[in-house]
């Protein structure tokens, strides 16, 4: 396995790829520490006049930092709702057979795979009718379409790894279902709940199309705030770069905790 030249070729390939993966991100972070004049006038690999101004702008201007607060609010709402409905369903799928179980499971998958563009117009009308437009609830509910199926799939994968004998022993010991589920079963699948929460968080956080369409002022997410800066005349590149850098940070921190489960999450519990 470890004949040296082979090993070197592989390490080289890995390093080349990592450089390719990091360069665009490095460039944006680099720009976020420059001034707009600095960006347009000189081309440098490191900021010449290092400045925190762009970050100061974002943290002091309500139209910017509210974007982050709005995004985090609907993402949190969505994650909690997704897990609350997905937990019992995943348990049912992993433990019992019932009429139409496979069909319902498939139906859930199709929702994860439907292009958000298909739902755009109906959502717009549905939420206008219900008076939910431009609220956190509109986006949180809309994102359920792809997050609930994902959470069910991931949790089902983790729950199937827990032997059924545990359930049966608990019932013989006189536990009721809710008490068994909360005090015994949930602690056993902690990791699964964490991974499912992470993936709900992530897919709600990265989505733009629905979030942008269903909000205008009060609940406008950071991703939409950014696109409007892009379309404005006279690009504010430096602030845009700083805002972009800040959106990467939450994911970059949380990813460390779920690094061993990332593949399982993306494959919806099937690895």
């Amino acid at each position: 396995m470890n004949n040296t030249p082979r090993f070197r070729v592989r390490t080289l390939f890995l390093i080349v790829y990592l450089v390719f993966a990091m360069l665009p991100i490095y460039w944006m972070v680099n720009m976020s520490f420059k001034t707009n004049q600095g960006i347009l006038s000189s081309f440098s690999l490191l900021p010449k006049n290092f400045t925190w101004d762009n970050y100061v702008t974002i943290f002091t201007d309500p139209s910017w930092y509210n974007g982050y607060i709005n995004s985090l609010t609907y993402v949190a709402l969505n994650t909690v709702m997704s897990l609350a409905v997905a937990l019992p369903a995943a348990y049912a799928f992993s433990r019992y057979r019932f009429l139409g179980d496979k069909h319902v499971f498939f139906w859930l998958l199709t929702n994860r795979m439907t292009p958000p563009a298909v739902f755009l117009l109906p959502f717009f009308q549905l939420y206008s009718t219900l008076g939910l437009m431009d609220t956190y609830w509109a986006v949180a509910l809309a994102h359920l379409v792809f997050n609930v199926p994902l959470a069910v799939w991931i949790l089902e994968g983790f729950m199937s790894g827990i032997p059924r004998e545990i359930d049966e022993t608990a019932y013989i010991d006189g536990y009721s279902f809710p008490r068994f589920f909360i005090t015994i079963f949930l602690p056993l699948i902690k990791a699964g709940v964490g991974v499912a929460a992470f993936f709900c968080f992530m897919f709600s956080w990265v989505e733009l199309l629905l979030a942008r369409t269903l909000t205008s002022v009060n609940a406008k997410p950071i991703v939409a705030t950014m696109t409007r800066t892009v379309s404005a005349a006279g690009m504010d590149w430096a602030t845009l770069a700083a805002a972009g850098t800040l959106t990467i940070i939450p994911g970059a921190i949380v990813i460390w905790f779920v690094r061993h489960y990332i593949a399982k999450g993306f494959a919806m519990g099937r690895v």
Partner: protein
Amino acid sequence: MNGSTKPVNQKAWWLILPVCLCVAFSAVLPLMTVVNYSVQDVISPTRSVFVGTEWFTAVMRDEELHAALLRQLMFSLSVLAIEIPLGIGLALSMPAKGWKASAVLVLVALSLLIPWNVVGTIWQIFGRTDIGLMGRALSMMGIDYSYASNPTQAWLTVLLMDVWHWTPLVALLAYAGLRSIPDAYYQAASIDGASRLAVFRYIQLPKMRGVLMIAVLLRFMDSFMIYTEPFVLTGGGPGDATTFLSQYLTQKAVGQFDLGPAAAFSLIYFLIILLFCFILYNWMLRVGTQDKRSGHE
């Protein structure tokens, strides 16, 4: 879901009822609205006429749609042709244990967690010839590069962006598949004096087959509905060089408010996706049962 041993219990329906209600509210209800629009001509909010399958016929004959579909297929196939081999290669070169493995894993996965419009923004900045590293480097090499005016270059830039964004997904899945191979297999292979290529062909590839199939289908479907990244980077242009299906649909539905054709198109789009879902679903079930069977051996 493989459950010959699972007991039949119809009461389990109560447990999945909340999910069904939730998804019915956010998916079935909207989808019915789409069906409704696809057979009507909405003249004003209060007046609409039933037109039957007219929109479907119109959409099927739409030249622009054919062009967008062809572009989409080309794009999705290119994505697969590049990302799958690259992802396998990457997975094979990632370290297996220790802090190095963790660090590489996090670095590789980072691009998957960046909001999709920020991915577009990153590449927008990166590719500009005045302020971007890549654009600047290419123009210094004497290439007349501009993703905003040259259709071929715009297309290649979107492709490169997708490779950058999503190859890690293939790599992670392949990596997970590789880690499930017991050391005994490699020991047996080295006793037999198997070449590196033979180990890959007869041990690693078969063991990765299941997850790779998932990777292929996920990448195909997700690239089939790509919207945000090209929207930010090129806005579908120049001309319509990077207008893919979702882009085209959004233009029709929200930009021009052609409700009927947009709805008919949505349904056709949905049916295409449904077909691939069906294939993916059966594959996933098979992978699930395979793993459990090999786990019992």
